[in-house]
């Protein structure tokens, strides 16, 4: 069986946990920082000491509001609940979360490929501590004991719950990729799935194609990358189709994605474990952003990926694939700056998608205005394509100004003025040939290019010379 077995439809709803990029935790002033020495970022509040009291972090609320606005949610007065359970990842034996009155409800996300995925809610809650199982190769049941680091306990999260509107593994990937871009754009998240600052649980079910009722779902946990998400959903959908095709029933349960084994394995059944005895957190009062606060947050919202894509498409006319890459990598600003400076759009897109995007892991992109100057130099023929790529590589590696780097590499003779001067001199010296060129004798262009090359000791760009000749001849 595979997930795309004819006659079956996959139905997916996703829960994405997003750690907020605040300076401090949700209810105390401990730093919210990844990768610190274990248990060095803890205090009486986040370790649940008797008598300690939580106070809500204003910035966390504001980031949650930004996320809500970006996902077209309604922002509502909200309260916090205690979710009670016995597991040592929270020293308090409960997690503070929003339950029946979350801050953001009822929104949607538009996929780059078109189509909207409904957002049921996006609520605030605190993250839990990190448990390491010792012995038994890290597996919980074979471990001899466990060690706990509470640095993450109390870190603010927004959990974004989609409606079950997703119909394939590929669409689930597109949803998470777009959601990640949006979260990064709002400044609420660093989007790092590999560090666990963005974590995904997938509710997967299948049903006969054409059916309007949902099948019984399984919740897949431990999905830590977009690639795992696709594999886990495809595996799980195929498994369920197999079970149902054999006349069996799907169990409502939690399943774990086993990356190495490429399969999901059964966890606990949901019926037994979902009694969390939620009750309103008596130590926290309601949070209800007033119109003035909401207005300030709204006014400070950045341009979101969907709008950035259409803006870039309009400015450059580049293909959708390039547009998507540029916006996702945040390089659209570079291209827009170059186009605004009068550089050729196609050249700007090419340099950004090929050279800059390709070097993001190892280099630092130049500031938009600096990038714009480089592309403009290439557009005007001051640099050949090869020379521009060389200078850009220098900029990505060491930083610096394109004019200066070009000079250091001996590309300085190619300033656009120099090119124009060389063309003028050659035209003046060869009036008869110029008349023939103007009359439309295209092959004379080769003669002029050769002359300009000679005059510039081979440093001119043939294409730029031809363009300059055509411009002057008005053809």
């Amino acid at each position: 069986m595979t997930a795309d077995t004819p006659g079956w439809e996959t139905v997916v709803g996703l829960e994405v946990h997003c750690e907020l990029r605040t300076a401090t935790k949700l209810f105390c002033g401990c730093p919210n920082r990844f990768g610190q020495e274990p248990n060095t970022q803890i205090c009486p509040v986040c370790t649940g000491q008797p008598g300690s009291l939580p106070v809500l972090n204003r910035m966390a609320v504001e980031m949650a509001m930004r996320i809500g606005l970006a996902l077209h949610c309604r922002i509502e007065p909200s309260i916090f609940h205690r979710k009670n359970y016995f597991y040592p990842d929270m020293p308090k034996d409960y997690q503070v979360s929003q339950y029946d009155q979350p801050i953001n409800i009822d929104g949607w996300l538009e996929l780059p490929s078109g189509g909207r995925i409904g957002i049921e809610r996006a609520h605030l809650e605190e993250d839990t501590g990190k448990i390491t199982h010792v012995g038994g190769a890290g597996r919980i049941h074979d471990a001899s004991h466990s060690l706990i680091d509470y640095n993450r306990a109390g870190v603010p999260l927004v959990e974004i719950v989609s409606r079950p509107d997703i119909r394939s593994a590929a669409q689930a990937r597109d949803y998470v990729a777009e959601l990640r871009s949006i979260l990064v754009a709002t400044g609420a998240s660093d989007g790092k799935m590999e560090e666990g600052s963005l974590r995904v649980d997938a509710n997967v079910s299948v049903r006969p194609r054409g059916s309007t009722e949902f099948g019984t779902r399984a919740e897949i946990k431990n999905v830590n990358s977009l690639r795992s998400l696709v594999r886990a959903i495809e595996y799980e959908a195929a498994r369920q189709i197999g079970v149902l095709s054999d006349g069996g029933r799907v169990t409502l349960e939690t399943r774990h994605w086993d990356e190495a084994g490429g399969r999901t394995t059964s966890g606990r059944t949901k019926e037994q474990s979902e009694d969390y005895r939620y009750f309103p957190e008596p130590d926290l009062v309601p949070v209800a952003p007033d119109a003035a606060w909401l207005g300030r947050v709204e006014a400070a919202m950045p341009v979101l990926p969907a709008a950035r894509r259409s803006r870039l498409a309009q400015a450059t006319g580049a293909p959708g694939e390039d547009i998507a890459v540029l916006v996702e990598t945040g390089l659209d600003e570079l291209v827009l700056a170059a186009v605004a400076a009068g550089a050729d759009a196609r050249t700007a897109v090419n340099r950004a998608t090929n050279e800059v995007a390709g070097a993001l892991e190892t280099g630092t992109p130049p500031p938009p205005a600096t990038f714009a100057r480089l592309v403009k130099m290439e557009t005007e023929g001051a640099l050949t394509a090869t020379q521009a790529k060389t200078v850009l590589a220098d900029m990505l590696r060491d930083g610096g100004e394109p004019e200066e780097l070009a000079r250091q590499r001996g590309f300085e003779a190619l300033a656009s003025d120099a090119l124009a001067d060389a063309v003028s001199a050659v035209i003046e010296a060869n009036p008869a040939e110029w008349e023939r060129f103007k009359a439309g004798e295209a092959k004379v262009a080769g003669f002029f290019v050769g002359q300009v090359m000679k005059a510039t000791r081979g440093n001119a760009d043939g294409g730029a010379v031809t363009a300059e000749l055509r411009r002057r001849a008005g053809i």
Partner: protein
Amino acid sequence: MSPESRPSISRDDVAHVAHLARLTLTPEEIERFTGQLAAVLGHAEDVAALDLAGVEPTAHPLPLMNVLREDEVRPCLDRDEVLAQAPAAEEGRFRVPRILGEAP
């Protein structure tokens, strides 16, 4: 509270709630707490019997909203001091016995 308005709470309910709270109760305790909890629930029912049409629900007894703090770092506790108070610690972390259940 009149006997006929007494809410029904069974011994099984009490045993279930005790399990959720990881309390081990003797049969006598279950019997006693069933009666006591029934009295508490009976009181809640008295309140529920009030005519509250037109009264807005409140989430909290305090007339307060938006009690917030600025996102500013405060000092943390000294790790060694904290871990010294734990039953067991190892490699800078709290050590707990083997966990049988799964994360919630």
